[in-house]
Amino acid sequence: MNAIEAHNLYKSFGQVTAVDDVSITVKKGEIYGFLGQNGAGKTTTIRMLTGVLIPDSGTVRICDMDILKQPLEAKMHMGVIPENGTVYADLTAEQNILWTAKCYRMDRATREKKAREILIRLELDGRKDDLVRTFSKGMRQRISIACAIVHSPPVLFLDEPTTGLDVISRRLVIDTVRHMNREGSTVLITTHNIEEASALCSAISIIHKGKIIATDSPEKLRKLFDTSGFIEISFEQKITGRTLITGGISRAEPLGDKWRVYTDDADRAVKDLAKIAEQNNLKIVSVATSTPTLEQAFIEMTEGA
């Protein structure tokens, strides 16, 4: 049994096709990343997976329960942190968590115990009796997460949970996601932060213009583009990019005080660069070769599609 199974989801709004034949299978225990540019259809997909938006066609099963036919049962098995959704500003942090826990039919003793634990984990116990109205964005997001995990959901959906958070809050959120995964939750997370996704996820889908264009482990996605590495080099003197274009180097772009040159053949490119430096009397300050990051893979895929 898979934790999330979605087949052939379609959704259009007027002329815009937001999600175009998306199928997703997430195995139990996975942390599954959902990457895509702004407007790619990530939020629309998550809204359909969580029963907030009805798809034009397609099916969604959460822990083997159909989200449209057994909505209450399926929703009992998940926790959701929506992109555009928040907790009640007129309730205190603790009241929000306790009420949510009650919605998931937890008994009073368990509710109170879990609420206390989670408030401490998310470093909010000092403010638990304050109205959420008085909270900063990062604190609100943490309360939203607290509410989504209070019932230890088998499946956890997070739509850009770290956007707009500072380093500390971001780390708290990521640690919490890892913790929930270790405790048995399957996680589906969307993010713009590709490095975050590659550090966190065991599988990643890239969605572009409503279609999934690649699904694999972060490592394999990166390897797809292993042929085109780059070299970063800096010279003491100022030069123009054209100086650097030779047989082994296809493209050069400035990057701060460095140049990044792209090549299919790192060995030949390094030798070329040395030759160029010698011919032009340039002094090399630093040089480093690098394999492509997931970010590169992402950009190449979405630009090519």
């Binding site: 907030v52 209450l72 929506p82 907790v87 009640y88 007129d90 309730l91 009241q95 009650k102 919605c103």
Partner: protein
């Protein structure tokens, strides 16, 4: 769908509504102060029989109090962006609609009951039919809470627009419902009031308190029950459509 689970989800929505929306300004103003002020402006300086008009006052009280939370809740939640999260909890739109109705109905029921108790003490009101009074309180609070929830169903995240719209619908009704002129005195003009559901609630209160209702309490109750049904189905249809279009 498991019935126990569904009932629980309705109650959870009601609990949330009661904790948050009973204290909102517009609920206090339109649900409590407004009917009092309307009645006082009508009575002050005139030599009217308070007991004769008390059923009309009770009807207006229940009408405004029960229908005051409904128009507020959903637009408020859409503006504050709590709606998106609410829908992802173990609830369905039927739970949200029925939960919202229940919270409005409890508000109207409690307030109107308190007003009736106060009236009974101060004016020594008669009580011709206690069971009809209970039916009136029950059906009236549900019917007009359902009206309030229906009024909030169009997709919008501007509570003030919806409050204006709902007053535009609610205000005219009080003039064609036998509140200021009892049905029995309208004579040939009585038909103008037939189309307002509030007429039947006021008539039930007349039967219950003074025993001078025009229609039979069975007819009044049947109309109110149909109205509840129609409002709930209409609200569900609209909100289902909103869920499809993602608003």
């Amino acid at each position: 769908m498991d019935l126990r689970m569904f009932i629980w989800s309705v109650l959870m929505v009601t609990e949330k509504d009661m904790r948050i929306y009973y204290y909102k300004g517009s609920v206090v103003i339109f649900g409590l102060l407004f009917p009092f002020i309307m009645f006082l402006t009508f009575f002050i300086g005139r030599n009217l029989d308070l007991i004769l008009f008390f059923p009309g006052f009770l009807g207006m009280m229940l009408f405004f109090s029960a229908s005051s939370t409904g128009p507020l809740i959903t637009p408020w939640e859409k503006r504050e962006k709590t709606y998106e999260r609410l829908v992802s909890l173990p609830v369905v739109i039927e739970s949200i609609i029925l939960g919202d109705i229940l919270s409005g109905a409890v508000f109207g029921f409690v307030i109107t009951t308190l007003v009736w108790i106060a009236g009974s003490f101060l004016l020594h009101l008669p009580l011709a039919n206690p069971s009809v009074l209970i039916a009136a309180l029950f059906l009236g609070s549900l019917a007009f809470a359902a009206l309030g929830t229906l009024l909030s169903s169009p997709a919008t995240n501007t509570p003030s627009n919806i409050m204006m719209f709902s007053n535009l619908v609610r205000l005219p009704l009080i003039f064609v419902s036998g509140i200021f002129i009892p049905l029995s005195q309208l004579g040939t003009w009585a038909w103008t009031n037939m189309f307002s559901p509030l007429t039947y609630l006021v008539d039930l209160f007349h039967t219950a308190i003074n025993g001078d209702g025009v229609y039979s309490p069975v007819l009044d109750s049947a109309v109110l029950i149909s109205v509840i049904f129609i409002f709930v189905v209409a609200a569900k249809t609209i909100q289902q459509h909103n869920l499809l279009s993602g608003r």
